[in-house]
């Protein structure tokens, strides 16, 4: 990991916080999971906590591509939505057990990400963003035009998971606390997976591509293949978030595939900080809490959230968590 704190020559005063920060980095997965365990007791509602869990997972997965590989995708709603739809259809129409439905959703999302990645990573910069946007809208219109499968405009219903069986224990899945902790296992799994990827040699390769694509290529990295793998892994994590959302809502809105949902993922990631592992999760948390609080006051809550977002992009480009890590902990 590039840590700006380490770049500063270690004077006696700077050494201690730098060590503290490297400890935070080293134990980022257990610390994150600890935070997730406490989350439902700190937020006003359990439903909000589940939403944070879902979008936090999605944003962390998205950031693998955006923050760490340097590719701005405007199409990640396609993977979230596809994961959700496949899970819903598998349970509702085929009576597949919930855990297999989750697996199918994740695999389906991964396959779609592989195809979309293969088409989009051939392009660069703004063209890449536009291709991802266009392909994701294609998926949206496919879902809109096949109502017998997806419920079309009305979204997909009729696959409520009431209770789940876990090693002989029956858990009431309608209870919000139970639901939160079951879904938390998936979120924790995703965080652990992303952290492992970032710590791996592949993690170093994608950072090299983000830093200087030409140099990475000259060093002997197959830039196209590396980008495609990153795109696929990122889409897979997002699809997992989608399956979690399907289980949570027992409903898949068509809007989950819409480009506005992709935009929201980008906003959450930037708000929390694309340069850090846990930043996107914080971004999702802050975004959803703002939505929750401000929408009580006014139906135009998006104006407030949008303004705050713009202020962050202009004045704190490292986002909430990124700024905290570099400024406060230094």
């Amino acid at each position: 990991m590039t840590s700006p704190a380490l770049a500063v020559s270690p004077s006696a005063s700077a050494r201690k916080p730098a060590r503290f920060r490297s400890l935070v980095t080293k134990y980022r997965v257990p610390l994150s999971i600890l935070a997730l365990c406490l989350l439902p007791w700190l937020l006003p509602s359990k439903a909000l906590a589940v939403n944070v869990l879902i979008y936090g997972t999605v944003a962390v997965g998205y950031n693998l591509l955006f923050g760490y590989t340097g590719l701005l995708s405007f199409g990640h709603a396609a993977f979230v939505g596809t994961g959700a739809y496949i899970t819903g259809i598998a349970i509702g129409q085929f009576g597949v057990p919930w855990y297999l439905a989750v697996l199918m959703g994740v695999i389906g999302g991964a396959l779609l990400a592989f195809v979309m990645g293969a088409l989009s990573t051939r392009t660069r910069g703004i063209y890449f963003s536009m291709v991802t946007l266009a392909l994701a809208q294609l998926v949206y219109y496919v879902a809109l035009q096949t109502p017998s499968w997806t419920g079309g405009e009305n979204g997909l219903r009729g696959f409520t998971v009431n209770k789940i069986n876990l090693f002989g224990f029956e858990i009431n899945f309608l209870d919000p606390v139970n639901k939160y902790y079951v879904l938390m296992v998936f979120a924790a799994l995703a965080l652990w997976l992303v952290s492992r990827i970032l710590n791996s040699p592949f993690g170093a390769a994608i950072e090299a591509i983000r830093e200087n694509e030409r140099r990475a290529r000259t060093c002997g990295y197959n830039v196209e293949r590396t980008k495609l793998l990153s795109f696929t892994l990122s889409g897979t994590i997002c699809a997992l978030g989608g399956t979690m959302s399907a289980l949570h809502l027992a409903f898949v809105p068509l809007d989950s595939l819409h480009y506005l949902s992709s935009g929201m993922i980008v906003m959450m990631t930037l708000l929390g900080g694309a340069s850090s592992f846990f930043g996107p999760f914080i971004g999702a948390l802050v975004f959803l809490v703002m939505e929750d609080v401000f929408s009580l006051w006014t139906s135009h809550w998006q104006i407030i959230v949008g303004s705050i977002f713009v202020l962050f992009v202009l004045f704190l480009p490292k986002g909430i968590w990124g700024t905290f890590l570099t400024k406060v902990m230094r």
């Binding site: 040699p201 830093e211 140099r215 000259t218 002997g220």
Partner: protein
Amino acid sequence: MNAPLLAVNDIGVRFGGFVALQGVTTEFRPGRVTSIIGPNGAGKSTFFNVLSGVLTPSSGSIRFKGDDLKGTKQHEFVHRGIARSYQITNIFPDLSVHENVRVAAQASRSRYNIWTNRNRFTELDAKADAALESVGLVAKRDETAKFLAHGQQRALEIAIALISNPEVLLLDEPTAGMGPEETKEMVALLEKLASERTILLVEHKMKMILGLSDRILVLHHGRLIADGSPRDIQTDPEVRRVYLGQNDGYA
């Protein structure tokens, strides 16, 4: 005489209607320093781009150790044994000096492993430190690359290119933008490197080229107009005409 390491045959490169290289045929034997000179726009950088896989020539062929490199992707060149540096410094600006070289070393060891902790590959750390040692940057190991002095960034780029232990090293103006002191250090470094591998050099500093090179190629308007020892090149009438005729003061 030993077999040629790298051979090009009748290379041509066209950009639309513009002919950047035309009918270039030559070969490079192991263990020598060959400089490529010529006025601006002569095709030196294009020639380097062909030799390092950045550009696919419009016509002609390149052979490396007898293998045709047609269809070889740019990122495969370094795995075959051809590495390069760029005229404009090309490093990973936000990584530390050590990470710059380490990630380059990793390219020949592990590219798609998403599972193992990268710190387990301790041999890469040792390799990176050895490369930094050879270019005199060990003291700057933990600094962020973009904060290095210009000359040090140039040296870092050479360390990145060296890490794959290439048989052929292409250096595009390694002393570009350097003052006399930094240039002197770079020349000392190049002399050290020249004892171990084949070096191809594009440079403008004539005195340096004459001192360092075993052989000089002269390009002019995309054509190879002279090829010989520094002494031959200095007395070649065609070369004198090209340089003196343009009066740009290189010769």
